[in-house]
Symmetry: C2
Subunit: 331 residues, 2 copies
């Protein structure tokens, strides 16, 4: 069969137009068609359609997202912990005693076995040393600096490039439908605030997380500062998540999504509201493009929450099958 040049051109133009139209009408282009994508799109349509029995007024369209493992990767170690280890190395010249003092020696030697053996006490010591004892402004600068220099050990990309493209689309889709999007994470607030606005479009005042006690002080030159103290103020994980939601947001979400047992109570709290609502989990099923882990993982363990999600028919996103791409294209 012979086509004239003109016919081929016309067809090409038509196909391009059709694909553009499809892309424009699809708010979640990185999601494969299927029941999970449909559940999201249907939910948003139902709660935003005036006159629908499931209509929810704009002010109540609160959506909460876990961060680690839900909006960006969390393997082989939480990215915030990678930051802490890098800070230990950066601070080491000012701490000659760390050459012999655990758990710092283990960090400097790259001896992960000894580090893990130092247990919660050792890990807490590393977090406190690297996250407190400075002003809020100083801490934020160290996070900024790290984010534009450090790269992930195996993916070889900036950590902020390891956010999930399908979730960025979901955040934008919800906001386009007048949802207010919040992070509700076990990670610490100030760490996330350093990048969440630029990367996720979520402003500092919409981030709920674990926090340290801070103290107002007027420094020697008369300038007021907020000092970060080596004391936990609030742990935003597990049963702490509904507490954090009430404390910082004061409204029950109608949309919540997480990826681990630490999100179970947030989903239960969301599910117990009265209007239409959406509960979801991201399941890490893609060993090739990301990581595959759930019930037996030390990081992002997903076990009891998965059982409850299945029993209650919450959406369980299957990363491998639901997502066309995992990360945004290389910058």
């Amino acid at each position: 069969m012979i086509h004239s040049k003109r016919t081929v051109l016309t067809l090409a133009v038509l196909l391009t137009v059709a694909s553009l139209a499809r892309a424009q009408s699809d708010p979640l282009p990185s999601w494969n068609d299927g029941p999970n994508k449909r559940a999201i799109v249907d939910f948003v349509a139902r709660v935003t359609k005036e006159g629908s029995p499931d209509f929810v007024p704009v002010a109540q369209r609160i959506a909460t997202f876990d961060n680690d493992g839900t909006l960006w990767s969390e393997q082989p170690i939480y990215f915030q912990f990678a930051f802490a280890l890098d800070r230990v190395k950066a601070l080491a010249p000012h701490h000659p005693e760390w050459k012999t003092q655990q758990p710092f020696k283990a960090v400097l030697d790259g001896d992960m076995k000894t580090l893990v053996a130092s247990g919660e006490k050792g890990l807490a010591e590393i977090i406190m040393t690297t996250h407190t004892g400075m002003t809020t402004d100083e801490f934020t600068r160290t996070v900024f600096d790290w984010l534009i220099t450090a790269k992930h050990p195996t993916k070889k990309r900036f950590y902020t490039d390891l956010v999930y493209q399908p979730m960025l689309e979901l955040l934008a889709f919800l906001r386009a439908n007048n949802f207010k999007t919040f992070i509700v994470s076990g990670g610490t607030v100030e760490f996330m605030r350093a990048f969440a606005e630029k990367v996720y479009g979520i402003p500092p005042e919409q981030i709920v997380g674990t926090s340290f006690v801070t103290k107002f002080q007027v420094n020697a030159t008369g300038v007021p500062v907020l000092m970060r103290e080596p004391k936990i103020d609030f742990i935003d994980d597990g049963p702490g998540k509904p507490v954090g939601i009430q404390k910082f947001i004061g409204r029950r979400p109608i949309f919540a999504i997480g990826n681990s047992d630490g999100d179970q109570q947030m989903l239960q709290w969301t599910a117990a509201g009265t209007s239409a609502r959406f509960m979801g989990l991201v399941r890490h099923t893609d060993a090739e493009r990301e990581w595959a882990y759930d019930r037996n993982s030390h990081i992002g363990k997903l076990d009891r929450a998965l059982d409850e999600a299945i029993a209650r028919k919450w959406v369980v996103v299957d990363m491998k099958n639901d997502w066309k791409v995992i990360y945004p294209p290389e910058r």
Copy 2:
């Protein structure tokens, strides 16, 4: 001089149109013209004008308002304390022991002298008893019910009618210029959340205040609840205000206004930022229409903050001279 009917009518129409136009172009109609009103209007013009050296991007237009004495009255006792006293009376039938037990007996007897003599410990006991030991939803309902029934002892109006009309206009003016308006108050969060959205247009997630510890529990019927525990979580007053601002908002305000020494550190923190900024105090100077008090008041004491405001040329609103009306018209 004789006017034709027609001339009079024309004049009347012209005057009406002129006054309407003036009202429309005046964002703060309840403020008398003068340096304070001009300072507010000029500040907003400067930070919102693109290309102006003082331009501030929308995301950074954070405005924080104290509540008691700044957005609504606080005499003869904080309205939240009036709520607590009324709750003691409402709960008394379930607590026969209060007939003989202080400080409750004093409340039931209307014996303010003994009540005041019970000191901070007694007042804290009344607050704890009336504000904790129930779920967040239950507490909110008691506040709702109180607000639509209780009336101020001398003004004989609902407490939510005793908000300052000029401040409502200021809030609306700032929001019309893409400021995000927050309350930062020593009052407790859940109490304010019960009315702030309807009365001030400030949503629950933009209220920073003193809070109680809450605990996530699943009740006997399998429903998750948040229980309010008789333990202070955070005191949002004095040096606590910059801490609360950082904790909940995560950005430094460019506009802050309070009325007492408890707001001094919030104003210092605001003043220490780098872009254009506005710091203000409301001074209670109107014994006739509201109350007149400052340096020697037990409630809303304004002493050190006033000295600093004068020294640093912050705006000190003079209620009597700056405000045409105090409260909105009767409903």
